[in-house]
């Protein structure tokens, strides 16, 4: 084979020699960016499927089964695509590659936020999401805290090796659910003492960094799924869901209006959020107005029979 371009030639001028070195650095970075970008695309696709799955929970005969299936999928995402990204980012400044994985990450946050809302009826915080994306390093020094806390019902708790895709050299995500780390990662980074971007807190781990702004954009998208669910639930005869969802969405909406000047992106999402909220409020209204025509107990009967279809 002919000699590779990257190799040095005897007859190069000093300038050309220097540039051959530059080339390697450029190629390395571009290749890494490309690999992360492709992983992000996969994550986007999987997250969209996950959301579809979760939309079937309300009105399902066996919601627990669906949630378990979702947890399985989330776990699989951690142990494959996210782990691979974490490997790529090890020793790197993750902001350099943020553009490569932000879109997959946001879609993932939308999905996982939705999952936790369905499981725990609350908005999951960034800290929990971030922790699930911390992995032990491959050069395995025995890690003390690798024993899982079984109190956690999330997908991260599922650490048995029944998943065939989880072979020996693929580590499991770590779950530091002890509180000593606090919510440091939602704290302002620039002034924080730890540096979650790229270098993880101790030298035995690596991570996929989740910047708070990406988290919030994912949360905004999540409210769109809440709206879909609320509207669907009316058809399924579920009379309480719209009101519960509206309450949750109002809290988020009010919060967003407080910092909607932070970026054009957030402002755009806020306006979509407001539209979604109004759709849910209209659903609540419709239930009230229609419900006014018969006594409450009879209303419930009617909807229960309707839901049975």
């Amino acid at each position: 084979k002919p000699s590779k371009e990257g190799e040095s030639h005897a007859d190069d001028s000093p300038i050309v020699k220097a540039f051959r070195v530059f080339q390697k650095e450029l190629d390395n970075r571009n290749d890494r960016f490309e690999r992360i970008f492709k992983l992000s695309r996969d994550i986007t696709i999987e997250s969209k499927r996950l959301i579809f799955l979760l939309q079937r929970v309300i009105g399902s005969d066996d919601p627990e089964k669906l949630l378990a299936e979702a947890a399985e999928k989330i776990h699989e995402l951690h142990s494959t695509k996210f782990l691979e990204i974490a490997k790529e980012l090890e020793g790197q400044d993750s902001y350099q590659y943020l553009r490569a994985y932000t879109s997959g990450l946001q879609e993932y946050i939308e999905a996982v936020t939705f999952y936790y809302y369905l499981s725990e009826q609350r908005l999951v915080n960034l800290d929990k999401i971030q922790k699930q994306l911390i992995f032990p390093k491959l050069v395995s020094v025995p890690v003390e805290s690798s024993g899982t806390d079984s109190q956690e019902a999330g997908p991260d708790a599922k650490q048995d090796n029944s998943d065939p895709s989880c072979s020996d050299d693929q580590p499991k995500p770590m779950d530091h659910s002890d509180d000593n780390a606090g919510n440091s990662s939602t704290k302002p980074e620039p002034t924080g003492s730890v540096s979650p971007a790229g270098a993880s807190e101790d030298k035995k781990t690596m991570l996929v960094h989740v910047p708070p702004s990406e988290y919030m954009l994912g949360v905004a998208d999540f409210t769109g799924e809440l709206m879909r669910m609320a509207i669907n639930s009316v058809g399924a005869g579920n009379l309480d869901t719209p009101r519960v969802v509206a309450d949750m969405m109002r809290v988020i909406h009010n919060a967003f209006t407080v910092f909607d000047n932070a970026s054009r992106e957030l402002r755009k999402k806020t306006s979509v959020l407001r539209q979604s909220l109004q759709k849910v409020e209209t659903a609540c209204y419709t239930l009230t107005v229609r419900g006014s025509e018969i006594p409450q107990h009879m209303l419930t009967d009617v909807f229960t029979s309707t839901a049975a279809s």
């Binding site: 540039f19 400044d93 960034l126 302002p188 910092f259």
Partner: protein, 225 residues
């Protein structure tokens, strides 16, 4: 519902801190831009040297002004949290390119050769590689070099006007070598590639000046290499 509220409060704090840091960076980079303009003004004289202007002195003056640049980069580096270089680097990217361009110009005028990354780093008191701390990104180093070639092709023209016929020959050879260097790179279709596309016109301009001198016997045809 309290916990949900907390999340948003945290996020607000995050945004505020980010905003403040950006403001602080802006203050430093404004001073950097000011300094760059001043050094540039000193160096503009090369295009129209008065009788008795010493190139060596000019370079010395300009180089000394980098001392203040060092101090500014120290301030800047201090502000950037470890490993968040690329989060904010768009804010100093442009001015760093101009420092590289000026450093490259000084070194060429003085020593007739390409400035190294190490020299630029030393002049500005930053690290050469990302791993070793605050550094000048390779893309910005390269962009600075491309800005320099544009200035050099202009100098080739003006040197002739001032009666200096050796400088254009030196410049032409140098710019050709740089062009050969850049051709080795596999550039993506980005700003760097676009700027590199313009380099060929600088090469051509310099060749034309040498050609003009050669056909008039103002420089020897064979003293080029």
């Amino acid at each position: 519902m309290a916990s949900t509220q907390d999340i948003f409060t945290d996020f607000q704090e995050y945004l505020n801190a980010d905003h403040e840091l950006r403001e602080e960076i802006r203050v430093v980079t404004r001073d950097m831009n000011q300094l760059v303009r001043e050094i540039q003004t000193v160096l503009q004289v090369i295009h129209q040297p008065a009788q008795g202007t010493s190139m060596a002195e000019l370079c010395k003056t300009a180089e000394d002004m980098f001392g203040k640049g060092k101090e500014l980069y120290r301030q800047l580096a201090e502000k950037i949290p470890e490993n968040q270089y690329y989060r904010y680097s768009d804010m100093w990217r442009f001015v760093s390119q101009r420092f590289v361009y000026l450093a490259g110009l000084i070194v060429f005028l003085r020593d007739g050769r390409l400035v190294t990354r190490e020299e630029v780093a030393a002049l500005l008191g930053v690290a050469v590689q990302r791993e070793d701390g605050f550094h000048i990104d390779l893309d910005d180093f390269l962009m600075g070099l491309l800005n320099m070639t544009n200035e050099l092709s202009r100098l080739a023209v003006n040197a002739v006007t001032s009666g200096d016929y050796e400088r254009p020959v030196q410049i032409s050879r140098f710019v050709s070598q740089l062009d050969a260097g850049f051709r080795v790179l596999n550039l993506k279709n980005d700003a760097l590639r676009k700027r590199f596309d313009g380099l060929k016109y600088d090469v051509k301009k310099c060749e034309e000046v040498v050609y003009d001198l050669t056909i008039r016997g103002l420089v020897g045809a064979h003293n080029k290499d």
